[in-house]
């Protein structure tokens, strides 16, 4: 079984400041890793994913994440945030060698940007 822990339920940050949203996962098998964003009253949109290869993954809207296998972490970062980045962010995993692709989500981190 897999689980995902997002260490911060809320992260306030000033506009143009850097931000890091933390994510740790637990799994007895190899997993794929994802970050999704949910804007108010909308569905989820994929920001980035780690499947294999380079542990530094770049996504949309200037976000990037680094996979750390030894620490079972997949933290999301952005060097300079904008008001439009205000949203809920979800870290997620799915089992790598599986014939079904269900996704296990964390509880989310609410990113609020202050002008």
């Amino acid at each position: 079984a897999q689980s995902v822990t997002q260490l911060d339920s809320q992260v306030p940050v000033f506009e143009e400041a850097p931000v890091e949203l933390r994510c740790n996962y637990s799994s007895s098998v190899s997993v794929y890793l994802f970050w999704y964003v949910q804007y108010p009253n909308q569905g989820l949109q994929l920001l980035l994913k780690y499947l294999s290869g380079s542990t530094l993954v770049k996504g949309i809207n200037g976000f990037e994440a680094e996979f750390n296998k030894s620490q079972t972490s997949f933290h999301l970062r952005k060097p300079s945030v904008h008001i439009s980045d205000t949203a809920e962010y979800f870290c997620a995993v799915s089992e790598r060698d599986s014939s079904a692709s269900k996704i296990i989500f964390g509880s989310g981190t609410r990113l609020s940007i202050r002008p």
Partner: protein
């Protein structure tokens, strides 16, 4: 190219009633997954359909059932509604069953049970 569409957008039901939610996948996708997102929480996997069969199921009671049609669209049915079933129900579509592929999410159906 239309993305994932869901209907209705909002729904209010009474305890004990039954509800049906609908999902049309993104063009070219053949797999549909359903998730329940309670207020302030992350989405929870309900089940996944491929080739008109339920392929995987999360920890949800039998009151939750589904169906996939030959055109890949899907329905989620919930019987004997409880107050705790109030949530945003998200449908996601993808191509095939293999993990790692992107799942595209619809805007969701907001179900309120009174």
């Amino acid at each position: 190219d239309a993305g994932v569409t869901q209907s209705p957008t909002h729904l209010i039901k009474t305890r004990g009633q039954q509800v049906t939610l609908r999902c049309s996948p993104k063009s070219g996708h053949d797999t549909v997954s359903w998730y329940q997102q309670a207020l302030g929480q992350g989405p929870q996997f309900i089940f996944q359909y491929y080739e008109e069969e339920e392929r995987q199921r999360g920890n949800f009671p039998d009151r939750f059932s589904g169906h996939q049609f030959p055109n890949y669209s899907s329905e989620l049915n919930v019987n004997a509604l409880l107050l705790g079933d109030s949530a945003l129900y998200l449908c996601a579509s993808s191509l095939g069953l293999a993990g790692g592929g992107e799942q595209y999410f619809g805007p969701g159906t907001r179900l309120t049970v009174t």
